[in-house]
Structures are given as C-alpha cells and as structure tokens.
C-alpha cells in the first residue's frame, strides 16, 4: 500500500479501537452525557480519516473502491459507522456505540489480514458507474441491518435479564425498527440499481442467479418485518427474531452465496 493510504487506514483503525474503549467505559459510567459526546467525536474523527483513505484509494484506482472483498469490507465498516452517526439512535442506546466502533475496528482488521489489498484493474463487466451506486446503496442497507440486528440481539439479552418495562429494552426495540426502515429503503435502491446495471450490461434486469435471489430473499424478510411491525404492531421478541433472520440472510447473501452456493454449483459442474 501507498504510505499515505496505509497511514490513513491504520489511523482510522486506531480511532475505532479508541472509540470502542470509550463507548465501553461509557456503559458503566455515571456521567453518560459527556462520555457519549467523546464517543461520537472519536467516531466522527475515525470515519473522516477512513473517508480520506477511501478517497485516496479512489484516486489511485481511478474508480470507486468498491469492487472486491477487501474494498467491500472497508465500505461495510464505513457504512455501519455512518448509519450509526446519521440516525438518532446513538443518543438513546449507548450499547450500540460499542457495537459500531468494535464492528468497524474488527472489520478493518479482518479485511487487511485476510484479503488482498492491492489495487487491481477491473474486468470489463465491472467497468460501469452503476457499480459504484449499486454497491454503495447495498452496503448502506447492510450497515443499517447490521446495527438493527445488534440492537435486536441486545434486546433479547436485556429483555430476558430485566423487568418488562425496561427503558433500555424499549429503546433497543425502537432502534431496531428505525434502522430497518432506513436500511430497507437503501436495500431497495441497491437491488434496483443492480437490476438497472444488469440491464445495461446484459439486457436482462433479473436472471435469478443465486446472489440476486438471495438479495430478494433478504428484501422479502425485511418486507415481512415492515408489515408485521408497522401494520400488525409486532414488537419485542418476535420483531427481534425477524430482524436477526434478516441479517442472517444479509450475511448469507454477502459471504455464503459465494462460498456455499457457487461451491455447490461448481461442485455440480
């Protein structure tokens, strides 16, 4: 890696680690308000540095840096932090600060340890501006769903331990619904831009390949969530489980389809 890029990458990683630490302390502190501000400020600083890193990479590659496993993991970390900062949930649920910062730090570390970070030229099919829009919108959705599922898991833990009328549990429940609404809009945009791209590259906006099919499955699960939650008034444990199922589907679409289904298919061939 170019030294400037390496520096910004490492700085943002350190920033996220620091934010995780502050956020963890915040969970047990008396003066929540002040520490919460520190956590937010650290996250903003780290994500700004990460944005600079992605900008440098964009310039060096002469294309959006969203095209392989390493780049998409970096984008995933970025999206979780941006969604966390953009939605007001961070003010209500301090535990999500820990989750966000730790998720970002671990994802960056994982990406740089296990995946090739060198900039590679793109194959013809990927050379399109739709790539940038499609991947960006999908990952904003994924970032929101990651936060929502974290809130759901936290809800299940807190709701089991605490009394029924628990303030934190209620905040987590609301956070789940808010982030899913936000994520659903972006996932929808992601699937649509993918379809438009496929149509402009191959003349077919939908071909039921496993990745497409799984993105649709994910979308259906969150559509079910939206209807159950907002029309049937589902909340609490039931809603939390739908949210967790939705994120399991996201993870499967992102990793599993590549390793399991294409593996099954290539085995079949």
């Amino acid at each position: 890696m170019d030294p400037d890029m390496e520096l910004t990458f490492n700085l943002s990683l350190v920033g996220y680690l620091a934010a995780s630490l502050f956020a963890a302390i915040n969970l047990f502190s008396k003066n929540r308000q002040r520490l919460a501000t520190v956590v937010t400020a650290t996250l903003i600083a780290a994500v700004t540095v990460q944005t600079v890193y992605m900008g440098l990479r964009w310039i060096a590659a002469e294309r959006a840096p969203f095209s392989n496993m390493f780049e998409s993991l970096v984008l995933f970390a970025w999206a979780v932090v941006v969604v966390h900062l953009a939605l007001r949930i961070r003010l209500d649920v301090p535990v999500l600060g820990v989750v966000t910062a730790l998720f970002a730090a671990l994802t960056l570390a994982y990406a740089s340890t296990f995946f090739e970070s060198a900039i590679k030229p793109l194959m013809p099919a990927l050379r399109s501006n739709w790539l940038a829009v499609h991947v960006f919108t999908c990952f904003m959705g994924y970032g929101a769903f990651a936060l929502a599922s974290a809130a759901s898991v936290a809800y299940l833990i807190v709701a089991r331990a605490g009394a029924p009328a628990n303030g934190t549990a209620a905040a987590l429940d609301t956070a789940t619904a808010k982030t899913i609404s936000f994520g659903f809009l972006f996932l929808t945009a992601g699937i649509i831009t993918g379809a438009v791209w496929a149509n402009s590259a191959w003349g077919t906006y939908w071909s039921w390949d496993p990745k497409e099919t799984w993105s649709l499955i994910t979308w259906f699960i969150y559509a079910v969530f939206m209807h159950c939650r907002f029309m049937r008034g589902w909340s609490g444990r039931r809603a939390a489980w739908v949210s967790i199922a939705g994120f399991a589907s996201v993870v499967f679409t992102y990793f599993g389809v590549n390793y399991l289904l294409s593996g099954l298919h290539s085995y079949a061939k």
Binding site: P124, I192, A195, V196, P210, T213, F220, V224, M231, A268
Partner: protein, 412 residues
C-alpha cells in the same frame, strides 16, 4: 412510526374475499411462501445444472425425477411459482385499492403515508407487468460475425428471428490495461497471406555468386535472389518463400508437430522454402539461434548453398491476443437500411446500443480469432414499465420511511 389499524373487511362475500386478499396477514403469509420458494430455487440445482449434478451424483436421480415433476428443478419458471406471483399481484392490487379509500379519509402525515404505501404496492404491479410483457413479447438471441460481415437476423434458442434492418460489423477491438492508446498489433493466426511488422527481416546470401539480399518477412510471398544486372534464370537464382511463423517455437513431444507455446515472441521462428539450381529444401530459422537451422522433423540441416538469418525485433505478430488483462472489447457497428448506413455506433461491455426497440450488447470474443465477435440482441418492450415501477417504488418507500415520519414529528 406507530402501528396503523387495518380496516375490518365488510360482511358481503366479495368484501370478505377482497378483505382476505388485502389483509396484512395474508400478504405476510404469501411473502413467506414465496421466500421459501426462492430458497429452494437457489439451493437445488436448476435447469441445465441438473444433468451435470446427476453425472456427479447418480444416486440422486430418483429423487430428482420427483423434484422435476414437482417443478423444483425449474422453480422460477414453474406453473406454481407463476401462480404464487399471480396471487401476489391480485393481493397487492386489492390492498392498493383499499389504501386509496384510506388516503381519502385521512389527512396530514397519515394520508401521505397511505399514498406512499399505495405507490409502493402499485410499483410491484408495474414490475410484474413488465416481466409478463417481456415473457410474452420479448426476444433474446445472439449475433455472431466477423469484421466486414453484415447480418439481418439473430439466432434464438430454437432457430432464428429476422431484424427489421441489417447490422454491419466494421471493426472489433480488444483493449487491455496499459495499452489503451496503442493500436492493436496485427493479428490472426500465422497462416494469413500477408502482414508484417517493422523490423522482421530475412537476410539471405549466396556466397558463390557474392549476392546478399534483405527481405521483409511476409508469409506466402516468394522472393528472388539473383546477381545484380543479370537476367533471372533457373541457373542463377534462388526462390525463397516464408511459409509459416510461430512466435514461441516448440515441438510437441508426442506428435512431433511444431507449435507455439505462447503468443509472446519468446522464440520467434519462421519456416522457409528454398528452391534453386540443384537444391531444394525447407527449414526453420530462429531469430534467437541464428546458427541452428532445423528440418521439419527437428534434425539439423546440412549447410546448403545459402546462408540465411532471420532477424526479429519483438516478433512478427507480437501476439495474437494483446497482452495484459482485458479492459474492454468494442464493436464498431453500422445499421444499414435500404442500402444506406443510418447509424454508426460503437458498443462495448456496459455500453449497449439501441435501435428500433432492439438493443445490442457486446458479449464475446474468440482469443483464437480476433476478427470474430458475438453480440447479444434483446428486444424487451416491458423495460419502460419495469423502470417506471422502480421509480415509483423508490418514491413510495421514501415517502413512507422518511417524508411521512418527518411530517408526523412536525405535526406532533
């Protein structure tokens, strides 16, 4: 966002049916069933994958016969999946109609939200309608041609379809990373009749007559070597012809055939025929090994009356394929109608060309023959409706998850 109460269905039969179809419970059940079908369709081998799968797992053939009957090996084209989508459409249509009533009754953010949700549901109908139009009236196939060819039809799964105009391929190009601006080298296999690159020379001398000549290497062209100022006769001339060129000479150990190990000029060689007074021979000449001339079988040749050297600067056909990772491939097309060129466009991957409802997509090339290309041809009259559906869906969802909650917050 707070839960919204759902209307209770009316008592009449049609009211009950439409109430069922429009209910959220029904919608959710339906979506769950369709989701399960998608899981099955993505996990089980589908369509053409089945045969290959059974080849590997013959034991599964009994199971797959049953799967086939149930439509599980072609889920997304099966009658029951189409049926589910049909019920889905009816359900979405009824609930949209009912939303209209809600929108009329409510005001403020609640009304905006109803309208947003209605738009979202109508968008689903648009997308499905567009898919149906494609299935009924769409066409999809391929055109394969070489540079200079003109075609007025395309090949579909069963036969071919005419185009209402003719398509001419003027030029096909492959662009690789790192050489965008350089022209592509000459190409094709070594058997072509001519073609040469600067710096490829065959130097021949005939010591006995004290003549030397320096010919450009051109396949199939006969050169004559004779003393200057004398009439060319059979007695005082040699005829030299380059028959073949390989960029990376090697001999297949099994077949004893000469072949090229790669397209790079690692070991450029030419095969030359020589005919002269009392002498006739064929031999390979190597640019990198001037002293080592061989016969076709690989045995060294005896020194003849001529000395020959092949001088190469990078090989005659630097590579059949341009080197480096492929960046793009492009076809320059001309649309011909009534004998006139009416459009002139270049298509490349991710940049198709549409004319009179037909869209041409750059799809393939042949590394062995770079004058050949394949295009996909698609006619899909449903696309505008599908795209309208996409736009409505984004607008509707944006209204539901962003505009209406903001209004609600402001009204509160």
């Amino acid at each position: 966002m707070n839960p919204v109460t759902v209307e209770t269905p009316s008592r009449s039969f049609t009211g009950m049916v439409s109430g069922l179809f429009a209910s959220v419970k029904f919608a959710v059940t339906l979506v769950v069933i369709i989701t399960a079908a998608c899981v099955v369709g993505s996990v089980l081998p589908q369509g053409t994958e089945v045969a290959a799968y059974l080849e590997r797992n013959p034991a599964a053939s009994g199971r797959f016969a049953v799967f086939g009957k149930l439509g599980l090996t072609h889920v997304f084209h099966s009658w029951w999946f189409m049926g589910l989508l049909a019920v889905f459409s009816v359900s979405v249509a009824t609930c949209s109609a009912r939303r209209l009533a809600t929108a009329r009754r409510t005001t403020g953010y609640a009304r905006v939200r109803s309208l947003g949700s209605m738009t979202t549901h109508i968008s689903l109908l648009c997308i499905l309608a567009g898919g149906i139009i494609r299935g009924m009236w769409g066409e999809k196939g391929d055109i394969e041609f070489r540079e200079g060819e003109t075609k007025g039809f395309f090949v579909v799964e069963k036969g071919w379809r005419p185009l209402p105009f003719a398509l001419h391929l003027a030029k096909f190009e492959i662009e690789t990373y790192g050489q965008e601006n350089k022209p592509r080298g000459s190409r094709g296999t070594g058997g072509a009749a001519s073609g040469n690159a600067v710096g490829e020379r065959l130097v021949v001398s005939w010591p006995e007559k004290k003549v030397t000549a320096d010919f450009p290497v051109q396949i199939g062209i006969e050169r004559v070597l004779a003393p200057k100022d004398q009439a060319v006769t059979a007695e005082n001339s040699f005829h030299v012809k380059v028959l073949q060129y390989v960029p990376d000479f090697s001999v297949d150990l099994q077949t004893r055939q000469v072949r090229s190990r790669s397209n790079r000029p690692n070991n450029p060689a030419i095969y030359v025929a020589i005919v002269g007074p009392g002498y006739q021979n064929h031999r390979w000449l190597f640019a990198k090994f001037p002293g080592f001339n061989t016969r076709p079988g690989g045995s060294p040749t005896e020194a003849g009356p001529l000395t020959m050297t092949y001088e190469s600067q990078g090989g005659m056909r630097a590579a059949a394929m341009p080197s480096g990772p492929i960046k793009s491939f492009k076809s320059s097309l001309k649309i011909v109608e009534d004998g006139k060129v009416v459009r002139d466009r270049t298509v490349e991957v991710n940049s198709p060309f549409a004319y009179k409802g037909y869209t041409f997509f750059q799809t393939g090339y042949n590394p062995q023959d770079l004058t050949w290309t394949s295009l996909q041809v698609v006619r899909d009259p449903g696309v505008p409706i599908v795209y309208a559906g996409f736009a409505l869906m984004l607008a509707g969802l944006f209204t539901v998850v962003y505009v209406s909650p903001r209004m609600a917050a402001r009204e509160a």
